[in-house]
Subunit: 386 residues, 2 copies
């Protein structure tokens, strides 16, 4: 498994400046959603070739053809869904896609039901569009969709339902059954479904991710956002994409052209190469993440007062720490200040996230083991204080 | 002058796919505002180093510190203006800066006076913000600012005046006197001045560009947009920046964070390096462009019915062709279809642009000479038809 390379721990602060920003030499960051592994060597080689050949000048507004085709092929191969290049819009990271969805499809006074916990910027972006954000927390016991509650919240003004699947931060992978039910609601009420599927390849225990776009009759109603930069370690290249109906893609492109012309070409090149040529590397990464999940979730779950079932997907553990400490923001602060362990506070992910922490386990085994030790010391200090 | 390298003509179509798109083997493109010269070798080398060292992961929302500092230093060196890194926002090309200015500073029902001809997206972006765009054509004889007309158009609703200096497409470089007068109007009426200064280094015959930001009392009112990607041939990396008051920069960053997080890091790296290390290369390019300007403008100006005074700056010639053909869009079409010479129709740049063509002369001497030949053949066909 040596195709998965991680820089020495001492180098991580240099290599991931934002993830480790402000942490000292012995700091560990399970915070920001970046993997701690090097970009696959062949991707770097392809980027060097592109630089030397200067293959990074203006491209067409539709995007680099090889990038569009790589997305189409990847959807065929991994998601078993047939799409065309006209269904794909390259974006400046997934964020750009979230923003476009909120601006192209929502008007002020429209309502959008957002299932929480979810990726924070979905909440912020949709709220800033002027639309009314209706929060719908997931089921409290297992974080799957509370379909009854979603149905209750649908009104005449409802224009969109927004989910994140696999869910960042809870790690839940929605089942085909629950997604079919959601699709049914969407079709009946003519509501768009926005689905952040950034972690679609990261599913465990044999689970399969089902894309909202693949469900019957949903190709006109589903807007899928994905990114290349997280899974392949290409975060700073800022490349993502939207998959949706051609009409929606055309509208989004029209707006994006006014904002950025098009995403950078070298990033599209690198992303195309990564999508086409790194399946084996990706399988190694996923299999490694599954092991790290077992290690981390099981260790945390064994602590009295902490509940941390194994994540079904993503590369996040999402322990409920209410049994030991009832303020996740303060807990994250103490963990970083006193135990040099950076994690994300669950409150940042909307209702249902409070009392939880999000820990990114896409890192090496020694770092996971050291993180567990530090978390246990934090845990013990509260047990003893009682 | 061999630090200025151009790919063989046969390679240009491959190297500049968007500039040459749809043109056959013998096609020449003086259309899109890309230079036909290779990116400076040291910039490519720096990019390769950055790729191999993986220096392209998430950076801070403020931007890469070395990029911000490079902009500050460049302003000190070339523009003789002291700014701080807090006055700089990295953007996804200049377009992103234009869009942010239109969204952060304009509200529906505000009025913005746009001096035309100007870079087309300024008109489109400002109009799409919902603000009322008040067109103010330049003086018809020399394309300098019609200051009296600008003053007449100022109302209580006027929030901003938008200029492009050096002017794309007319090639005019506004004098300190006219800019001082404009600044005076802005200060008196508390109006922002948006200034697209992408071509600030490209001034000829000893002229000096004066930045609106450098004028007394304008550091709170001027919003400057610039880009790295055109002058250094880095178009597809999509890096530009805004210079403005810290409060404006902070608001723009807040919005941009929701749209794109931050521009790609490898582009910021490459741009920082280009700004810091390529002054000599840039001087060669500017000096070469001045020669090409002489060649092209003088040749066109000699044609009866064509008026093409030497451009004061930018890398565009902007001949008035009314004396031979009264439809610039059709003229551009004929030139491309029958003479395989792509140019931009002046109408795309707003009122005052009609009856003109824009020709990008940032290319090699053989291409300029061949373009002149083709233009003359086009010219003659109309003379003969009369």
């Amino acid at each position: 498994m040596d195709i998965l390379v991680s820089p020495p721990r001492s180098q991580l602060r240099v290599k991931r400046p934002w993830k480790y920003k402000g942490l000292g030499e012995d700091g560990i960051s399970l915070g920001l959603a970046e993997i701690d592994f090097d970009v696959p060597e062949p991707v770097k080689k392809a980027m060097v070739d592109a630089v030397l050949k200067e293959e990074f000048h203006y491209t067409s507004l539709e995007g680099l053809q090889e990038f569009l085709q790589a997305v189409v092929d990847r959807w065929e191969r991994f998601n078993h869904v047939s799409i065309g290049t006209e269904n794909v819009l390259p974006t400046v990271g997934a964020m750009n896609g979230i923003w476009l969805a909120s601006r192209v499809l929502l008007k002020p006074r429209d309502e959008v039901i957002v299932v929480t916990p979810t990726y924070g910027p979905i909440l912020r972006n949709f709220a800033s569009s002027g639309a009314r954000v209706i929060i719908c927390p997931s089921c409290s016991e297992d974080y799957h969709l509370d379909l009854e509650e979603i149905e209750n919240k649908i009104s005449k003004r409802t224009k969109m339902i927004a989910i994140c699947n696999p869910n960042n931060p809870t790690g839940v992978v929605y089942t085909r059954n629950e997604l079919e039910y959601l699709a049914d609601l969407a079709r009946k009420n003519k509501i768009y479904v926005f689905s952040d599927e950034l972690y679609d390849l990261f599913t465990y225990d044999g689970r399969k991710h089902v894309s909202m776009f693949s469900l019957l009759g949903m190709d006109g109603l589903a807007i899928i956002v994905n990114g290349l930069t997280k899974a392949y370690g290409l975060s700073g290249l800022r490349i993502g994409y939207v998959v949706a109906d051609k009409k929606i893609i055309d509208k989004m492109r029209e707006i994006n052209t006014l904002i950025i012309i098009h995403p950078n070409v070298l990033g599209q090149k690198a992303a195309a190469f990564a999508l086409n040529e790194c399946d084996e590397w990706m399988r190694c990464l996923i299999s490694h993440c599954e092991k790290m999940r077992n290690l981390l979730c099981d260790a945390l779950d064994r602590l009295e007062g902490v509940s941390c079932p194994r994540s079904e997907g993503t590369f996040f553990a999402f322990p409920n720490i209410y049994g030991i400490f009832n303020d996740d923001i303060e807990a994250a602060r103490i963990l970083e200040r006193e135990y040099k362990l950076r994690v994300s506070a669950g409150s940042g992910y909307g209702k249902g996230g409070e009392n939880h922490l999000r820990l990114n386990f896409a890192t090496t085994e020694p770092i996971i083991r050291e993180s567990i030790k530090r978390f246990k010391r934090f845990f013990r200090s509260f047990k003893e204080a009682r």
